[in-house]
């Protein structure tokens, strides 16, 4: 239980002043309601937000989104920008699952079209999209293929007939981050990723068939063909073992580099190096390559999803990419800080970019609603163009499993019209809706704080999980 004294700024903003503990270079601001703060206080995430404020070269404030919970080094739901010239980059500020993110696919179908064949659809999706235990990918990549994925991203998939050019138009960075270098990715990381492209993974990763349940901003929703009852598909996964290994490799390398550059951080998991040091640059090259792998992973899964829809509904079932955005990434961006434009490296760990007029997706827990929002100017002024990424866990996995079986959860969801297929029992019990914060209250905060505006609420009818 955290006893940090927070200073209330307003209903949705709370301050940890830099005087809270020695070493803090700036204040930390938590975006949360009073009610959400109660659960946030249950773990060490506020302390971790204060630790982030100690990063050398941090500019503005260390930030925490309403879905903040305890992570490793950085809290999950943390945002920190560092000066591009004098700051440090930290793999822990991105996380192990580099470019874990979400892709939303729009469709030509309505809930009425899908409901009669829903069970077949979910089953087909479960068959066609491997969850990815060990090396279960159906794609066999040569060394050249893998290097192309790492340096070109989803363009590789499109050149292999898994999507179209327009998919890239609706993907952050067009799925290809500048500076990606396959040679900065270790052989070990490549070995882990080689057999995992096009796989979902376990834990909180999922694919959901959803329908538009409520529209809050008619005009914006119409631009994306999101009228009520329209079917969409939300894909939530990341860079799989490849990205996990890149983070592991560079936490170790930067831990060593900290001695060379005489840097100190309060937690080894926050290991960092100057952005422009050879070590920092090499991490950024490898991270960009892992991010490209993740975008390609979601591209391949989207391709398999299109195939499953066509098998069940025929060739008229078309799915188009609405947008694809990273939730775990470090990016060089221009932002106004203290009245002047500065180039910074924004670490988003469990946070989404939320630039004005950019779609923002906030998935809820399994079986509950997800939200489609649009980034707002407020995010540019306050959070380096960032908003929250999900509901945020409140219950440990063993607590979630207590007194409930996977079958019971499956049955309960079915009684609400949601068909679920999961490779593991844990995928159901540990991820049950009550294990997470209430998505509505998380979305309320970012909407009311002016970081991202509600456009539509999406409810699941089909879920596949690892």
């Amino acid at each position: 239980m955290s006893k940090i004294q927070l200073q209330k700024i307003d209903e949705y903003r709370w301050l940890i002043p830099r005087t809270y503990k020695p070493g803090m270079r700036t204040d930390a601001v938590i975006y949360a309601s009073e009610r959400l703060l109660q659960s946030i206080r249950q773990d060490q995430s506020l302390e971790q937000a204060a630790n982030v404020a100690m990063l050398p070269g941090i500019v503005g404030r260390a930030l925490a989104m309403p879905d903040i919970h305890q992570g490793y080094g950085f809290p999950i739901g943390g945002v920190a920008a560092v000066d591009d010239e004098n700051g440090v980059v930290s793999p822990g500020g991105v996380g192990f699952d580099i470019n874990c993110g979400v892709r939303l696919l729009g469709s030509t179908l309505t809930v009425k079209d899908v409901k009669p064949k829903l069970r077949d659809l979910v089953h087909q999706l479960f068959r066609d999209i491997p969850s990815g235990t060990g090396q279960s990918s159906r794609l066999k990549l040569s060394d050249t293929d893998l290097n192309s994925v790492l340096e070109e991203g989803p363009r590789w998939a499109i050149e292999h007939d898994m999507g179209s050019e327009s998919d890239l138009d609706h993907t952050e960075e067009r799925g290809c981050m500048a500076g990606a270098d396959a040679y900065a990715v270790s052989e070990r990381a490549k070995q882990r990723g080689r057999g995992q492209l096009g796989t979902l993974g376990s834990g909180n990763h999922f694919l959901e068939v959803q329908f538009v349940d409520e529209v809050f901003a008619e005009q914006t929703a119409a631009q994306y063909n999101l009228e009520k009852n329209r079917i969409v598909v939300l894909i939530h996964t990341g860079s799989r073992g490849l990205g996990h290994q890149v983070c592991t490799d560079y936490v170790s390398q930067l831990d060593l580099a900290m001695r060379k550059y005489d840097l100190q951080v309060p937690d080894r998991q926050l290991a960092c190096a100057p952005v422009h040091s050879p070590e920092g640059q090499r991490y950024l090259h490898a991270m960009a390559a892992a991010a490209n792998f993740a975008w390609t992973n979601r591209q391949c899964i989207a391709h398999a999803t299109r195939g499953a829809f066509k098998r069940v509904f025929g060739n008229s079932a078309n799915l188009s990419v609405i947008y694809d955005v990273a939730h775990n990434i470090a990016k060089r961006e221009l932002h106004i800080v203290d009245g002047r434009q500065r180039r910074v490296v924004v670490h988003r760990k469990g946070a989404t970019r939320a630039f004005p007029d950019q779609p923002v997706f906030i998935p809820g827990s399994m079986g509950t609603a997800s939200y489609f929002l649009m980034g707002q100017e407020g995010a540019m002024r306050e959070t380096f163009g960032s908003a929250c990424h999900g509901a945020g866990r409140v219950m440990s996995r063993s607590a979630a499993k207590k007194g409930v079986t996977a079958k019971e959860i499956q049955k309960e969801l079915e009684s609400r019209g949601i068909i679920v297929e999961s490779l593991t029992r844990e995928g159901l019990t540990e991820e049950k809706p009550e294990a997470y914060k209430d998505i509505e209250s998380v979305v309320d905060v970012v909407h009311n704080a002016g970081l991202a505006a509600r456009v539509a609420r999406l409810r699941p009818i089909g879920v596949i999980k690892g």
Partner: protein
């Protein structure tokens, strides 16, 4: 003290608290703890394949983290799960040892959850009055 481990949990974290009469036994306990996060009923894993582990590191923490990362690596790359561990040598630079197990088979094993990585979060490795204790958290 009996060789063994218990799992620690707090919201999104899963940790392993392992004990042993020696540091080596505590590491074997931590290895078994990690396998128990990956699969249900790990004691049913057959010892049919052996892999040699070499975990180097600048300090004990890095060596232990790297040793446990070997388990994650073999699961991701070869689908191997292990249940028998032995440590041949542990110097100031590296741990050398072996693990025996078999390929994960969905028909005979049940996956619990995949592990992304081993972390330094709240890491501990120290002697106790009865032996040795290692605490390590993993990202799942």
């Amino acid at each position: 003290m009996r060789l063994g481990f218990k799992l620690l949990e707090h919201t999104s974290d899963i940790g392993i608290l392992a004990h042993g009469e020696t540091r080596e036994q505590a590491l074997i306990g931590a290895s078994e703890g990690l396998v128990s996060i990956l699969v249900e009923s790990p004691e049913a894993i057959r010892n049919v394949e052996e892999r040699h582990f070499k975990a180097s590191g600048r300090d004990e923490a890095e060596q232990i983290v790297n040793w446990l990362n070997e388990l994650v690596f073999y699961f991701d790359t070869e689908g191997l799960v292990f249940w028998g561990f032995s440590i041949d040598s542990w110097t100031s630079e590296e741990i050398i040892g072996r693990a025996t197990g078999e390929r994960f088979d969905l028909y005979r094993h049940e996956l619990r959850t995949a592990v992304k990585a081993i972390t330094y979060h709240q890491f501990e490795s120290h002697p106790t009055p009865t032996g040795w204790e290692i605490r390590v958290f993993v990202d799942v």
